[in-house]
Amino acid sequence: MTSIINRRCRGLIVSILLAFSNTAFAAVMDLRPGVTDISRRILELHHLSLAICVAMGILVFGTMFYSMYAHRRSKHPKPADFHESLLVEIIWTAVPILILIGLAIPATSALREIEDNSNPDLSILITGSQWKWHYQYLEADFGYYSNMSTPAEQINNLETKGRNYILEVDNALVLPTNKKVRFLTTSDDVIHAWWVPDFAVKQDAIPGYINEAWARIEVPGLFRGQCAELCGKDHAYMPIEVEVLPEEEFDQWILDQLLAIELASGQAVADRAKTWTMAELMDIGQTVFIDNCATCHEADGSGQGSTYPALAGGEIPTGPMPTHIERVMSGAVDTEMQAWAPQLSDLELASVITYERNAFGNDLGDIVQPLTIFESR
């Protein structure tokens, strides 16, 4: 027994020591250098200001600690009686001003460059909504949603957490290297903030506004970030993943996407032509429900209080079908129930509505076909 504890303790101590001696440790306690010119300038500015603060701290606290040691009553029983000096007051007002000017100059020049959003090579419209991102490639004119792909089982500690726990998505944003990429941010509901530390880009996504930021990424790779502005319940679960490709690969990727969109629209026509069975729709519907609806309405349809109503025996899912379709497709105004028509395909909508009307003991026996959804659009 004791040997097990000992081994565990030793393991813990070793891992702590490793953590502190490891050079990778800098990565978990300091800003990242990142992969753009700007991100490195920001890191330098951060180190400069940190160094100035540490130097000032050593000076001020050093004087203070020396005084506490040397001028304590047992050593220095008779206090001096000076209590003002115009000269030192002027000195310790003027010197900090000079230091601040020294700090303001590099900050100003970096900021001027950051705020120069002119002449982009590529523009991405980033739209935040609870709790996902939508990326629109303005030049190539297509876009898609990006949802967190970490399963609920990991969040609820039922499965081991993966390496990229809550930082992974289904469809990453794909960008080219060495191009000036302009990020235009906006929102469909509340304020979000799109942040990728390696690009040193953090820009609020505000409903009614389109904000600008840019990055010129130097190396290909996978870069991760998170929503940085409290945006409601699942604020923690709104990651950003960016895959940066060399230029030629990126161009090919764009062509592949356009082709895939064409194929998908052909598939959608085929889906509409087919009459689906209950079993098929329930099967697809369950997946769509878990991926999109369960975070609020819960996997068993029990909901969360009045904010996220229960679907089991709920008013809408057991009420008239047209109302149900309308609610799922258009959402409910001024609530977190969003419009799903732009986000899901006809088949996905048909199957999730069918699922909601027949799962959780609702058992209405209704079937919604993709054609019905197509006609309601």
Binding site: M68, R73, A80, E84, V88, P197, I206, C227, A228
Partner: protein
């Protein structure tokens, strides 16, 4: 039984007597005590919420608090600590001390004083009761950004709005009372530039309160009409502007930050000279520095909003203005160090807390300076680096300030000395725990952990665990503080009227405990040295 007990029935039952004493009191000392008790109670309630937050963040994944409940805890913890703990704590100290320090018999407007206190229990009852309502308590953070708080706010948001209105009324009335008292009731001979620094800092704080609390009232009123009367102040769909909310809120919010710290500056400026046995260095520059901080606080609100898409010119202006605040703040810190220099120091508990205040507040000031630099703020903004920054200025800043004041004046209030050994134990455990809790947050923020998240990715796990353990210790040390205060109220070594051998000021010329009514006839000022020799 009934027959024998007859003679024991008093005219009024003790309960009624007790209630009417505390409900109807217009005495500044009793009202000060009420404020401090309220502040202390809410300190433990809001602290318990912090414990829930840290418990959830102990490990990645969801363990104790569902995301929606976690957001409610984050919101209520912030609101209660700011409006329920630090502000009433400082007002309680002002009530107790300002009349005694300026030789006045009471506050200028005693009935108003009673009213401004008794609004507060109702305000906080409204706010806390929202936790038990359908849909839960407000869950949008203490900054309640629209449209998360307007269009998407839970039904209880209306209770929050009315609660904030009530607190605002209380603060404005309290501030007016303090201004009127300071301007009219000073003892003859005490010119403005002879006032104790605690009185000075509170005078400036009171002006800040009168100027910005109505702005906060405006913000919540606009929220209320947006929610219920179809206006669109903050809704882009109706032609309004969500960013307008942030401008209005931070126009209140930034001066509010100084409301939460300036009285702490005053406290340090009272305590350090006493235990250094040397006059405060640079009294005049202290006053001017405080005034400049207060004036600058009105033009820097934009530094909370650098990522909202501000134009370059505005970013530059706000950055320079914010950096300027470091200058008067630096002057204050240098003056405290110069006061200690070549003094004859002893380190009783109030002095320890005051020194802890100066050092750790300065660390919070340093990170504040770093945050002022716009380019780097793009990386720091809304991360745990910011959480570390404002907890350094608020916990070892404002809260340590209040604690050092409590230790310093408690013998005057109760007539008993507190237990010095336990006081020191409280300080050392608190200072270790406070750094263990908040220092690793700097690293978390720099490494990229956003604030206000219920769950985090795995590379943040180690520091979060350290922080949570520190927070648990910090919570426990405050139970020790409660014990020390209760023990001191119940008894202990009798305090002299001066309490500390070189304390200066009118409050040390009256007996300990301070009688209910003091200075019915004005004292002599400047204070003749022999007055201190009474006992």
């Amino acid at each position: 039984m009934a027959v024998t007990a007859d003679h024991a029935i008093p005219n009024r039952s003790p309960l009624i007597a007790f209630l009417s004493r505390w409900l109807l009191t217009t005495n500044h000392k009793e009202i000060g005590t009420l404020y401090l008790c309220l502040s202390f109670t809410l300190f433990f309630i809001a602290g318990a919420m912090a414990m829930v937050i840290r418990l959830e963040l102990f490990q990645p994944g969801i363990q104790f608090a569902e995301p929606l409940f976690y957001n409610q805890m984050v919101t209520m913890h912030g609101l209660l600590m700011v409006f329920g703990v630090v502000m009433p704590g400082f007002v309680g100290l002002a009530n107790w001390l300002i009349p005694m320090m300026i030789g006045a018999p009471d506050m200028a407007l005693p009935r108003l004083n009673n009213f401004s206190f008794w609004i507060l229990p109702f305000a906080f009852t409204l706010l806390i009761s929202s936790l038990f309502m359908e849909g839960g308590a407000p869950n949008f953070g203490w900054t309640f950004y629209a449209p998360l708080s307007t269009t998407y706010g839970p039904p209880s948001t209306d209770f929050f709005i009315i609660g904030v209105h009530l607190m605002g009324i209380s603060s404005v009335l309290g501030a007016i009372n303090i201004i009127v008292t300071i301007f009219n009731l000073r003892v003859e001979g005490m010119t403005l530039m002879k006032m104790p620094l605690f009185v000075w800092t509170w005078l400036i704080t009171a002006f800040l309160l009168v100027m910005v609390m109505p702005v906060l009232a405006g913000a919540v009123t606009m929220m209320l009409t947006d929610r219920h009367f179809d206006t669109s102040f903050f809704s882009a769909v109706g032609g309004g502007d969500p960013v307008l909310f942030q401008h209005v809120f931070w126009f209140f919010g930034h001066p509010e930050v100084y409301i939460l710290i300036l009285p702490g500056f005053g406290i340090a400026s009272q305590i350090i000279p006493t235990f250094a046995r040397k006059r405060l260095f640079g009294y005049h520059s202290m006053v001017y520095a405080t005034i400049s901080i207060a004036v600058l606080s009105f033009v820097v609100w934009g530094h909370h909003m650098f990522t909202t898409g501000m134009p370059l010119a505005a970013e530059l202006f706000v950055m320079y203005a914010t950096m300027m605040i470091a200058v008067p703040t630096g002057v204050k810190v240098f003056n405290w160090v110069a006061t200690m220099w070549r003094g004859s120091m002893t380190f009783e508990t109030p002095m320890l807390f005051a020194i802890g205040f100066v050092i750790l507040f300065t660390i919070g000031g340093f990170s504040g300076l770093m945050l002022a630099l716009v380019p780097v703020d793009f990386q720091y903004h809304d991360t745990f680096f910011v959480v570390a920054h404002f907890h350094y200025v608020l916990y070892p800043g404002a809260i340590f300030g209040i604690m050092s004041a409590v230790y310093y004046w408690l013998p005057k209030w109760t007539g008993n000395m507190y237990d010095e050994r336990l006081g020191k134990l409280h300080f050392w455990t608190a200072i270790i725990a406070v750094n263990m809790t908040f220092f690793p947050m700097h690293f978390l923020g720099l490494a990229g952990m956003p604030r206000r998240i219920v769950d985090y990715s795995l590379q943040f796990a180690d520091f979060n665990m350290v922080t949570s353990i520190g927070a648990g210790m910090l919570g426990l040390t405050q139970l020790l503080f409660l014990y020390i205060v209760v023990k001191c109220i119940r008894g202990g070594e009798k305090a002299t009227s001066r309490v500390w051998d070189s304390a200066e000021g009118l409050e040390w010329t009256i007996p300990s405990p301070a009688p209910l009514h003091t200075f019915s006839t004005p004292p002599q000022f400047p204070i003749p040295e022999k007055v201190y020799q009474h006992d």
